[in-house]
Amino acid sequence: MADRFPSPFEMPTPPGAEGWQDLYAYSSVFSEDRREYEESAFWFMDGVHSPEAIPPWDATIVEYALIALSQYNTRHYVIPPARGVDMRFLNGYMYLSPVGVTDPKEIEARIPEFAERAGYYFANWDQLYAAWVPKVRALIGELETISFSPLPEREDMAVITEGRGTGSALDLLSTYHRLVDLTLKLWHHHFEFLNLGYAAYLDFFGCCKQLFPSIPDQAIAKMVAGIQVDLFRPDDEVKKLARLAVELGIADRFSGSEPAEQLLAALRGDPQGDKWLAAWEEAKQPWFNFSAGTTFYHSDKVWLEYPDIPLGFLRAYIAKVQRGETLERPIEAIIAERDRIVDEYTELIDSDEDRATFQAKLGLARTVFPYVENHNFYVEHWAHSVVWRKMRDLGRVLVAAEFFADVDDVFLLSRHEVSEVLFDLYHGWAVGAPSRGPKYWPGEMARRNGIMNALRQWSPPPALGVPPEVITEPFTVMLWGITSDSVRQWLGGAQADGGLAGFAASPGVAEGPARVVMSADGIGELREGEVLVAPLTAPSWAPVFGKIAATVTDVGGIMSHAAIVCREYGLPAVTGTAFGTKNIKTGQRVRVDGNAGTVTIID
């Protein structure tokens, strides 16, 4: 077994992707200047958020996410053993290297500062979190007001009569910069609570594991999990619409398979149909700002723009209602069950002192957990959806100016290049001479599309560089689920018998035919009783969990948003197998042992 991963400097450029480095910031690629540092560090690919090659503008979001995470650890809360998470693009894929604090004296010295700063947040959590939701809603509101329109032939007369003294191109440029800055601000807000929330949750998790070494993760999740969670609202809204269709007596009009547009148009005009459509329209904002992907790609399909996705779930729910099955989560029963679980474990604790500690930690975990679940809807699903939409509006302006032909080509520009492109547009408009863009970009976009396609074909290694003997950096483990075991497994490749090992992310054992699903587009193919094998599962896949037997993922640990949702559904899951989608073929029978964290290919 090798003791290190390939050096980032050994990785060849995929054929057809030559020049890919120029699509990313000079500071975000591996370079000779920093070779010594970069070669000695350990880098793992972030398959949790970015399983595919990342288009140049999409890099903005992951760069902002990581810089915000880093800054909160390093400069805000002074996390004792952790600084930030360094990042690089290699062949378009994102590799991360968490930077730990290794000197025990320095760790010790950071503790009082952490206690003061993080302690303040824990002590005032409810009040601070109560302010967070309106803060983020206001920010999203501000994003929503952003609009891009083509530069006018003449400035409006009012600019003259009001003596404004500025022109439309300034608005265009500054609006773009405002969009970019709001996106950074969004990610600041994201990490205001997240790492603290995880730390508190894991503290309770660790306490349970000490009191009951064999306690199933699902039990811990159930003691903490929220009952009314915004992250599940999109799914709940679809269920509500399904019941409404049955109540209104129009269920049969959903029984076909025509596209959403056609179906919705056919409902219009009769009283029952209009009533249902009004409810559909109401549910859309904000709950259909819900992505079927990881949300980190402009190409992730958002329900609002792809109504066929929620409509597919809706049709399945209508069928359930018609079979007499209930869609409601039985809230009272769930609360009763949650209380029973807490009571029974409490009763099994030997001493009053441990019982009090357990109760206190459970209390804090419950306090922080709504954030851990809900932020994902507000930041990733809702706000990202708005950012992608607004960027497409800008793309339309550039298409209208004939800079390129496809609106989505705007994402082939880095965020800095967009400024240059807007300057070029502005320049042509101001001078009244041709901009260079229409001559330059069509060819360049063709080249870039070629590069992106070549990068998508490439199979990134799970890690690069020199792994530490033991993974102790907390965020590597907490947020990405990478442990010493996963590193050993990556170095050793798959097991000899073709079986796989990963995280025992959700307990239980199940067997079934595998269905390898590489992206959200494929979830419709899943059949009852199949084992879902995917690079990763996303919370937005919620409706498929009702029919699959188990889940296997390539990446992710127990704290990924997806793993949390898996446990909510009580499905066996093995995550972070690294090679699941490579080794398992659709149709093979597999046995998923969510207790041991192993996957066996039976035939």
Binding site: D203, P213, P216, K222, A356, V477, N595
Partner: protein
């Protein structure tokens, strides 16, 4: 004092006369747990029979002379004591009482009755020493149990054999080692309907590997539970979470041997057919049933239990099948250990720093 005490009429005041094992069966039956019916011959019967036979002083003297460190001395005294008791004549009134009780048990379990006359319900005849099953001492296996005993004559004879087994070498040695007074020990005998299990075994209401009280560990194998209790077979092992009911671990072993009823009407160890050896001997529903039963016993006693159970019924799909409780005694290994304070710190910041410094301890991969 009554000679015969029915389990179903058990009162806590009877305990000293019944010994730990019988008292426990009475208690469990009283708590509504599914225990096969039966009765106990009181320890006083043993004492009286020995006194009437003139053996009390003789045996006390034999044992008083034993050097506990000298196995030959233990063996010689044991053999002599057992021979003396084995040669006793069962007192006529007790003989009649045992036969009458057995006949009533045969009648009660009518369906099992085969022959005529006084019936021949198969029963287990079990030793239940009066110093057994103290919370701090596991006397498991120190005395004899006889399986598949049929007919009044055989039952009476086996009661005598149980009495004699108070002086097995290991029983004597164990009492000496633990400092129990020898002449204070007496033997009650339980006579209990014998079930013919498809699978059987033991269950601990904690995880014996780490003392985790939220778990139930089940050892299970084909046929009568003796194969598991004696350790002659590597059983299937299941770990069940008490609260969630989830089967959190399962280890299926090659179960090469089972105790089975043979054509000669005896319970004998036989080799298990190759194709059945590595088949799990319990279905998930059965595992859940065993766990529920063990948990009920624990809840009743309010402390961790070590239970013996059996599944009756031919097929997993058999509606009539049921899980029976054959025995429940306090778990002694972990319960005796001084409690280890949980290291998770009550102060959230200190504890969180610990979690951040040892992140893998808080994840399922880590373990403690």
């Amino acid at each position: 004092m009554a000679q015969i005490l029915w389990f179903e009429h058990y009162q806590p005041a009877d305990a000293p006369e019944l010994g730990g094992k019988n008292a426990s069966l009475g208690t469990l039956l009283g708590a509504g747990l599914p225990v096969p019916p039966g009765f106990a011959v009181s320890a006083d019967c043993y004492r009286k029979a020995l006194a009437d036979g003139g053996l009390t002083g003789q045996i006390d003297a034999l044992i008083a002379a034993v050097d506990a460190r000298d196995t030959a001395s233990v063996a010689a005294a044991g053999e002599r004591a057992r021979a003396l008791i084995g040669a006793l004549r069962m007192p006529a009134d007790l003989d009649a009482a045992i036969r009458a009780a057995y006949a009533r048990l045969c009648e009660q379990c009518g369906g099992e009755q085969r022959g005529d006359g006084d019936g021949d319900l198969p029963v287990a005849v079990r030793s239940s020493a009066t110093c057994e099953d103290q919370p701090d001492a596991s006397f498991a296996g120190e005395h004899d149990t006889y399986l598949w005993v049929r007919g009044g004559d055989a039952v009476v004879a086996h009661v005598l054999r149980c009495w004699a087994s108070l002086f097995t070498d290991r029983g004597i040695a164990y009492r000496l080692e633990r400092g129990y007074r020898q002449h204070g020990a007496a033997m009650s005998v339980g006579v209990q309907q014998m079930v013919r299990p498809r699978a059987a075994g033991v269950a601990f209401t904690l995880n014996p590997l780490n003392g985790d009280r939220s778990q139930i560990a089940i050892d299970a194998s084909w046929g009568f539970g003796e194969a598991v209790v004696s350790g002659e077979v590597t059983p299937d092992n299941f770990l069940v979470d008490k609260v969630m009911g989830a089967i959190t671990r399962r280890t299926i072993s090659a179960k090469t041997l089972e105790y089975r009823l043979t054509a000669a009407d005896t319970v004998t160890a036989v080799e298990v057919e190759a194709e059945r050896q590595s088949v799990p001997c319990l279905t998930d529903d059965e595992i859940a049933g065993v766990a529920r039963l063990a948990r009920r016993a624990e809840k009743h006693y309010k402390c961790p239990q070590d239970v013996e159970w059996a599944i009756v019924g031919a097929q997993a799909s058999d509606e009539a099948q049921s899980v029976l409780l054959l025995q429940s005694r306090p778990e002694t290994v972990w319960s005796r250990k001084p409690r280890q304070a949980a290291t998770c710190n009550a102060d959230p910041i200190t504890s969180m720093v610990h979690t951040l410094l040892h992140p893998s301890h808080a994840t399922p991969d880590g373990g403690c």
